[in-house]
Amino acid sequence: MSALADRIRGIVAPGAPVPIEPGLRDLPAPPACPDLVAALGGLWRGGCFVVERRSDPAVRHGYEAVGTLAERLEEASGDAVLYSSGAPARAPFVFFDLETTGLSGGAGTQAFLVGCARFEADGSFVTRQFLLTRYTDERPLLETVSAELARAGALVSFNGKSFDAPLLETRCLFHRLDWIGGRLPHVDVLHAARRFWKPREGRRDGLRCDRAARRPEPSVAQAFRPARTGDSVCSLIALERQVVGARRVGDVAGFAIPARYFQFIRTGDARPLVAVIEHNRLDLLTLAALTARLLHLARNGPDDARDAREALALGNLYARAGLDTRARDAFRCAVDMTDRSTANGSMATLEIDSLRSLAVALRRARQYGDAAVCWRRLLDVPGCPRPIAREATEALAIHHEHRERDLAAAKAFALRSLENESQPAWRDAAQHRLARLERKMAIRSLKFEV
């Protein structure tokens, strides 16, 4: 090589080497003419390489059989609107998930594997995974994917609203193609998963359950360290284990996926992709199982909830959709479920949230007495955070002043709410209330004297 090349090497060398997993480095040399079809079991269709797999209804995925998932989705498809931000989501659902060459977005990040899946009428689960085998084939791939998605009544993804859909949209823009996903209702299961299944340690831990949790940012230092436990409680893998009850063997870690694809692109050896395609297929199957669970819960109500957290999330889901009666039932159920369990830190948090939600829902339904009972119970929960205690005492002060006409009790609650408040605006309001109560009490005592 020339002197220029050597000088450039001196400049470029400090760059990050592409991490290749130890196991892959020692693969025997690839066959002289690598055969994609043989290695991956796919076929060419319309200028695009597709891997199609079918899971029979009898196959189990975690707690349920594939056929059961199909039935549940079928039954509850009408409730999908609850999860699609009001867009008219309906069957058939197309589950989709991308594997990409990076996480940063922008013109240089491509989706090299687009996984799409649906249930067929007989209850089997069919995945079609479109693989980008050459850079120049991206356009036909996007066209094929668009056709695949076009038949959907709703797209279902995991974090797809923030990541997968915008990325495919950018790729379509790049090729001046129309992005069909923009016109389809979209159910992002991650959003619901956070509300239903993300455990909370203490209050307001910030709902951090982001893309990074699902696909950890790759770095050379971390590349082969096992993922830390606990930091990705809301990742698809964690949900698969806890909610779906399935377990993967020999799965490829998310951060190693781009390197495997780059290895395939450089060497033409498709074997490292076998595990990637299986990873993507399992992601789709778990996504379908989570969706079935969510829809099943929405349809059957809190009686099917496994714990208070699910019941509470269900209540919030109904409340947002304006289904007040169902919301109250769910909240009540959540409160009962927290009663039954032993009181620990996260349970107390759940109990507080459930009681508060129920109190607000009851007040909205003008069941003031029942609401007051909730507010009072709320104050008895150990470790009730100040803002909520203030809200409860304020609500009780109002209740006693205007409905019970028990001024002494109202005053006691108003004083308590003053104790709990540090923000000037709220303090002013509480003091204002106290002054009025004292005026009223003075007038009342005058009346008695007369």
């Binding site: 000088r7 922008g106 013109a107 240089g108 823009l173 450089r266």
Partner: protein
């Protein structure tokens, strides 16, 4: 769309599909303040524009470039280099201009034999006060952040006791927080602020209205910058004045003694080196991320196909086969790793812990250690703070208000190690070369300097991390044989080298027409191996480009080698001082009494040889 180069580079081009409509319809690209895009920044911008034009071609547009520039010698050449398009130049101004006085002031000589003049800062203070007393609105340009603060302190002191007066005198420099800056700019426009002492931060771009007088403390370093600063006074039809107070630096003295150099010579040329490999390779990565390179595409002067070949060895790009496009095969977002303006986008923030902790300023990474080392005095608008702790990792300096009568200047130790030589002349008795070097600099201590008297009232040692860079350098090597010829003691010979380096730097700056901070100087006298071998080691003087990767000064300097040495000799020989002064080999106190004579002697031997220069050879190492 209004934007800046940084946003185009890291926000728009990498996401061009989202800007498809803009690129499809793009007809004009307007670049304002073209003259600011020189050196590293200009070299980066040229590459950003190359990328922009690639993306435009992809979307089928071919925009026309319109540029506007302040007075420089080569606006057309610069525009053509930056955009790689042909330009037509419009260079006649039709704007009305009032009468303007341009005054050069050389402070009086205080000590003839030492060649010391009255401090130019004191002289600037006197002149600025005179204008202020006559209620003229003025701007004072200082050379550094430190002298800005010192002058502000002095001027405020002059008007102490007059109600409201100190508040009408303000300081202004980089590192002030935006709110404070906006307030001062507004005060200047509406006349509430009568005087502002500023670094080059107010030289261009910011609207502060037209002032009556512009006073420059020291020659700004280039003709273009001098005109820019002078132009801050009297833009309308009223009478105005510009005053340049010369410091005792050689460049200042040269200009003030030869005013025709300033008024008749054409202003500086703006140089860029967009094909600096460090810069080019970074932008090729960004370009490959944005759009695959075709197998026939060109990008810059170097062979982009070869560069892509190396990038593919490192896994950044991949070519599917002979003639196929190079596609980006890396997970990173390359634009994030490339800053258009400096080595790194890192900076230090200054936290005042006197009362409740609050941020009072910031400083770029490179000048952080020199200005924010522990016990440094940090000045903001004449208020003194002492640095109590520098959190180097966290990039924070914690300061506390202090009342003292001194300020501090850092002592920086710099070591240059050659890596590769591009060309060499020599070898006996001196050799000149240019090539790639590794520069390590470290702040090793500081001096305490008393306000007003400039007495050195103490010093301290420091232990701070090193800063490193790769750059290009010109190197003058003087062989031990030559050193032994000199009729001086070993110490005096060393002084001669130090003095020669001091003068060489000044001349190099003049010949290259660059800013003072664009080049750095370092001497390698082989101390590392002990004193005994030092006498037998060649003495090396490096004049290096003060930017990572170099910015194209060392090759021209190498070609001007002979001119550089003869001009340096003339500067030293023509200086009327006896044993050295700040105008030639540096003040006697710094270099020793024989420095001037020894430096002249060295140059005589070297130049005799340079006259019979034999051959130029390409070699592989220094």
């Amino acid at each position: 769309m209004l934007s800046n180069p940084d946003m185009v580079h890291s926000g728009i081009l990498p996401h061009h599909p989202r800007w498809a409509r803009l690129f499809e319809n793009l007809r004009y690209v307007i670049i304002d303040e073209l003259h600011a895009y020189r050196g590293v920044f200009g070299s980066h911008l040229c590459n950003v524009l190359r990328r922009l034009r690639r993306i435009c071609r992809h979307y089928g547009s071919n925009p026309l470039f319109l540029c506007s520039s302040a007075t420089i010698a080569n606006p057309r050449e610069l525009a053509e280099r930056l955009t790689e398009q042909e330009f037509e130049i419009v260079n006649r101004s039709g704007a009305p201009r009032g009468e303007k006085f341009f005054v050069f002031v050389n402070p009086p000589v205080v000590s003839q034999e030492l060649g010391i003049r009255r401090s130019y800062l004191a002289e600037t203070r006197r002149i600025a006060s005179e204008f202020l007393k006559r209620n003229l609105q003025l701007i004072v340009f200082a050379q550094s952040r430190l002298s800005t603060e010192i002058l502000t302190t002095y001027l405020k002191a002059d008007f102490e006791g007059i109600p409201g007066a100190p508040g009408r005198i303000r300081g202004y420099r980089g590192g002030y927080l935006p709110n404070r800056r906006r307030e001062i700019e507004k005060g200047l426009r509406d006349g509430a602020v009568r005087a502002v002492v500023s670094t080059n931060a107010l030289e261009l771009g910011i609207d502060i209205g037209a002032l009556d007088v512009s006073v420059m403390a020291g020659y700004p370093g280039t003709i273009a910058a001098t005109w820019q600063r002078a132009g801050r006074a009297g833009r309308r039809t009223s009478r105005s004045a510009a005053v340049m107070v010369a410091s005792s630096a050689p460049l200042d003295q040269f200009v003030v003694r030869n005013p025709s150099y300033f008024f008749d010579a054409s202003p500086e040329r703006a140089l860029i080196d967009p094909d600096n490999l460090h810069i080019l390779v970074d932008h090729i990565k960004c370009g490959a991320f944005e759009l695959p390179f075709s197998a026939t595409e060109a990008f810059g002067r170097h062979d982009v196909q070869e560069i892509l070949g190396v990038l593919s060895e490192q896994g950044f790009v991949h070519q599917a086969g002979e003639g196929a496009p190079w596609t980006w095969t890396n997970e990173s977002y390359p634009a994030d790793a490339v800053s258009l303006r400096s080595v790194s986008s890192d900076n230090f923030v200054i936290v005042d812990t006197t009362g409740e902790a609050r941020v009072i300023g910031e400083t770029d990474f490179t000048s952080g250690p020199a200005t924010l080392h522990p016990r440094a005095i940090y000045i903001v608008e004449a208020k003194l703070y002492q640095v109590e702790r520098l959190d180097f990792e966290g990039r924070k300096a914690f300061v506390r208000e202090i009342d003292c009568d001194y300020y501090t200047t850092a002592i920086t130790y710099t070591k240059v190690t050659p890596i590769d030589t591009f060309a060499e002349k020599g070898p006996y008795p001196s050799c000149a070369s240019h090539g790639e070097v590794h520069v390590v600099s470290r702040v090793v201590g500081f001096k305490k300097i008393k306000f007003y008297t400039n007495e050195n009232v103490g010093s301290g040692e420091l232990d701070l991390p090193e800063q490193q860079m790769h750059t290009t350098s010109y190197c003058l090597t003087i062989l031990p044989e030559v050193m032994r010829l000199l009729p001086y003691a070993p110490d005096e010979r060393r002084d001669g080298i130090v003095g020669l380096a001091f003068a060489l730097r000044q001349v190099a700056q003049l010949l290259l027409m660059c800013d003072g901070h664009d080049i750095g100087i370092s001497i390698d006298s082989g101390d590392g191996e002990g004193l005994a071998s030092a006498a037998a080691s060649p003495q090396k003087i490096f004049v290096y480009d003060n930017y990572p990767g170099g910015i194209g000064f060392s090759a021209p300097l190498y070609q001007m080698h002979r001119e550089l040495l003869t001009s340096t000799r003339r500067l030293i020989a023509d200086c009327p001082c006896e044993n050295g002064c700040p105008g030639c080999v540096g003040p006697v106190g710094n270099t020793g009494p024989m420095a001037k004579a020894a430096a002249l002697c060295i140059l005589d031997v070297v130049l005799e040889d340079a006259a019979t220069e034999r051959s130029t050879t390409e070699v592989q190492a220094f």
